[in-house]
């Protein structure tokens, strides 16, 4: 058996696919996590220390002193915008330029640490890990619902022991809700409904409508926030919008069945946006920053809390599965993924990411590949999809499934144990 030769730019639906581009904005933290303290985080394999100046500007410096690479995060803040290394006292300003050196009267002109471009937007602190000359803030994914007066919501950060790409995969195919989240948002209709995949530029959209179904418990309750007496069927939608390399905003909701939601009239329903942005930490760990924003009952803080904790529980079910999947990948080095029709959305995201990486490394296929890429980008591919029911039988009492179930049960007893201890 010979391994297929993979040309750069070809789709990467492979288990071993774990790479990330560096020329990208990654959400490093929630705004409230960065303050007048030193927050060390590894982002895209780079150790970085985050803090704020006294004027409130977020700063990201390489977390390694120029002198002998001791972590600056073990030092302390000094003055308006400086950080002092805890080892020999070298100080750096927010641009990473040394302002004080011990035992000499001058400052060594080479004494700098990299200052990463930082932009604070929509409640996240975004950091650019690649060539700073290319850091264009307009490339930050538009997650305005996270701090828009017409939306209310909140979210959390989960540190997940899996490649960020596995979470992108997870979100691009919500068929899994039926099996992983059966008690909250899962529904048989999820795997029985057709979906449509389109892509353009660095975005991919997967759209699924489920018409005239009984709402799952999570959505029944949400709809009753607005229409307390409604008990009937609903039209449910999931419109998944991916922006490379790792942001997925999902337009979700239900409306009273037959009131025109598929045609654009959602006035008889409730709409939420599940905001997900995944930040690679290492090749096989990541930070998962998520939020749930809603368009109903904006003044009800109790709903914000209920949804945040509810979604948190739902995502813990994902976390358990994803970490088990990562271990599965590592425990089966000779095996690769088999990609199904339901993986179309994920396959597009992987292809886009691979192209970004190729462009960054200068390994992109030359003009033919580029031309084909352009042509493909201009053409919006539609993929009608049928069900892949046969693969769903695997959800029985296998090792990983049992492990997941057990961990979920444990988590239910102590709902915050799996989340609060991580990444906050």
């Amino acid at each position: 058996m010979s391994a297929p030769i993979q040309a750069p730019g070809t789709p990467s639906g492979h288990a071993a696919f774990r790479h990330f581009p560096l020329n990208a904005w990654y959400a490093a933290a929630w705004d409230h996590e960065v303050g007048r303290n030193l927050l060390p985080k590894t982002i895209a394999g780079k150790p970085i220390v985050f803090y704020r100046t006294t004027k409130g500007r977020a700063v990201a410096l390489a977390d390694a002193c120029w002198h002998r690479l001791a972590p600056l995060s073990m030092g302390k803040l000094r003055g308006e915008d400086e950080i002092m290394c805890g080892y020999h006292g070298i100080c750096y300003d927010a641009d990473g330029r040394a302002t004080y050196m011990p035992a000499q009267e001058t400052i060594n002109p080479s004494a700098t640490v990299h200052s990463y471009p930082v932009v604070e937007r929509h409640r996240y602190v975004w950091v650019w890990t690649g060539d700073p000359a290319l850091a264009d803030p307009d490339m930050i994914p538009d997650l305005y619902m996270n701090d828009d007066p017409n939306w209310a919501g909140d979210g959390k950060t989960i540190h997940v022991n899996c490649s960020y790409q596995l979470i992108v995969d997870n979100l691009m195919d919500l068929t899994h809700e039926q099996f992983v989240h059966g008690s909250s948002i899962g529904h048989d209709a999820l795997s029985e409904s057709d979906f449509e995949v389109t892509h353009a530029g660095n975005t991919v959209t997967v759209t699924k409508w489920m018409l005239g179904i009984d709402p799952p418990p999570f959505w029944k309750r949400n709809l009753q926030d607005r229409y307390p007496d409604y008990e009937g069927p609903v039209d449910r939608w999931q419109i998944i919008r991916y922006t490379a390399p790792s942001t997925v905003a999902i337009d979700v909701g239900v409306a009273k069945a037959g009131t025109g939601a598929p045609e654009g009239d959602r006035s008889q329903g409730v709409t939420g946006t599940v905001i997900n942005t995944m930040t690679p930490e290492t090749d096989n760990t990541c930070f998962y920053l998520w939020a749930f924003a809603r368009d109903w009952c904006l003044d009800k803080q109790v709903i914000t809390t209920r949804l945040r904790e509810g979604v948190s529980n739902v995502f813990f079910e994902d976390e358990v599965m994803l970490e088990a999947q990562q271990r599965g990948i590592e425990a089966n080095p000779g095996y690769d993924f088999y990609n199904l029709n339901i993986d179309a959305g994920s396959m597009w995201t992987r292809r886009i990411v691979q192209r970004l990486i190729d462009r960054e490394l200068g390994t992109e296929v030359e003009e033919t590949g580029e031309a084909a890429g352009n042509a493909a980008r201009e053409m919006s591919t539609l993929t009608g999809a049928a069900n892949a029911e046969e693969q769903q039988n695997a959800n029985g009492g296998t090792g990983q499934g049992a492990e997941a179930a057990e961990a979920v049960a444990r988590h239910r007893e102590q709902p915050t144990a799996g989340l609060m201890g991580r990444g906050f």
């Binding site: 120029w66 990473g96 330029r97 009267e105 001058t106 060594n108 002109p109 080479s110 004494a111 700098t112």
Partner: protein, 336 residues
């Protein structure tokens, strides 16, 4: 990604060597493997042969070639210098050399309200790529390029064409010398001044910067310690404690001469920054030409120590001392 990058050596092929100004040659290298494009302000180290001995020199990367895989250097033949430039000028097309991946000690900071780039002579090589990057980003910048005469100025026509009226040429023999106070004054508040040029120019700018009360970290400069107040001369050096005495030829550094005569010297940066090769001055016949950026002005004046990798001694006559005709330069030192 701290400023000092681990040096990864590899092969590079010489694609082209051509004269771009009087005593300046452009050397185009094609690395066998380039991990990433050379960022503005970066340099490479290159293996050279000086006096039959393998040695290392640093040269700024002027830019990347048209194919994005070549590194362009600009090398001034320093007649009295250490010999690395003579080796570089003698390179021939097709020759293979050893170089590092681009190293970054002089990073350009984006997003400032304004920039002034100030190059003196061959110092232009460190600033060409910065000018290009600032222009590409639509930054507010001024590019000052000074030299004694136009024939000595590498890349001058290309730069004038590229930067138009942002380019400000200051050519001594055309009657437009650099006004250091005006230069400092033209840097907007919160902006940055990037300097690469001979030590006297850098010293004057540092002094003007301090005098204007500007923030030290906003003055960025790079030095390779290759120029001083005086042309290099041969001088004698003695270490009484070790019973050593040697002559430092005009084209050899004091550090190299001391090593050659058996002193066990400590050093690292070899461009006058780090302070490791410092020696104690016990006696002096002549004047010290400090070429480092490690010691402060006050320490330079005190004259009780020097950085042996770059600093030199000139004769009393050269140094302008009265009544010392014919006396050779000599220094008595002790080493750690």
């Amino acid at each position: 990604m701290g400023a000092t990058t681990h040096k990864r050596w590899g092969k590079a092929r010489v694609l082209d060597v051509c004269e771009v100004a009087q005593h300046v040659r452009q050397v185009v290298l094609e690395p066998e493997r380039l991990e990433a494009p050379a960022p503005p302000g970066s340099h490479i180290d290159i293996g050279v042969y000086v006096n039959g001995r393998a040695d290392v020199r640093s040269y700024s990367v002027v830019g990347m070639g048209a194919y994005g895989s070549e590194l362009i250097l600009g090398v001034q033949l320093a007649r009295q210098s250490r010999g690395g430039s003579a080796y570089m000028h003698a390179l021939r097309r097709g020759q293979v050399v050893q170089i590092t991946q681009p190293l970054q000690n002089f990073p350009l900071n984006y997003g400032k309200p304004g920039y002034v780039l100030a190059a003196g002579g061959i110092g232009i090589t460190a600033l060409v790529a910065m000018g290009k990057a600032l222009k590409a980003r639509g930054a507010n910048y001024r590019f000052v390029y000074g030299a004694r005469s136009r024939s000595l100025m590498a890349f001058v026509d290309e730069l004038a064409a590229e930067h138009g009226n942002r380019m400000d040429l200051r050519i001594d023999d055309e009657g437009a010398s650099l006004d250091v106070a005006e230069l400092v004054d033209s840097v907007p508040e919160g902006g940055e001044l990037y300097v690469c040029g001979p030590t006297p120019m850098l010293d004057a700018i540092k002094a003007a910067w301090a005098k204007a009360g500007r923030r030290p970290a906003d003055l960025r400069f790079e030095t390779f310690g290759s120029s001083g107040r005086f042309a290099p001369e041969a001088f004698a050096v003695r270490i009484p404690r070790l019973g050593l005495e040697t002559l430092v030829p005009h084209d050899v550094s004091m550090l190299e001469a001391l090593e050659a005569c058996g002193a066990d010297m400590m050093y690292d940066c070899r461009r006058g920054e780090c302070g490791l090769c410092q020696v104690k001055v016990l006696g002096l016949e002549g004047v010290i030409d400090h070429r480092d950026v490690f010691l402060s002005d006050a320490q330079h004046e005190a004259g009780d120590r020097l950085q042996s990798c770059v600093s030199r001694v000139v004769s009393p006559r050269t140094g302008g001392l009265a009544g010392a005709d014919g006396q050779q330069a000599a220094i008595t030192i002790d080493v750690p």
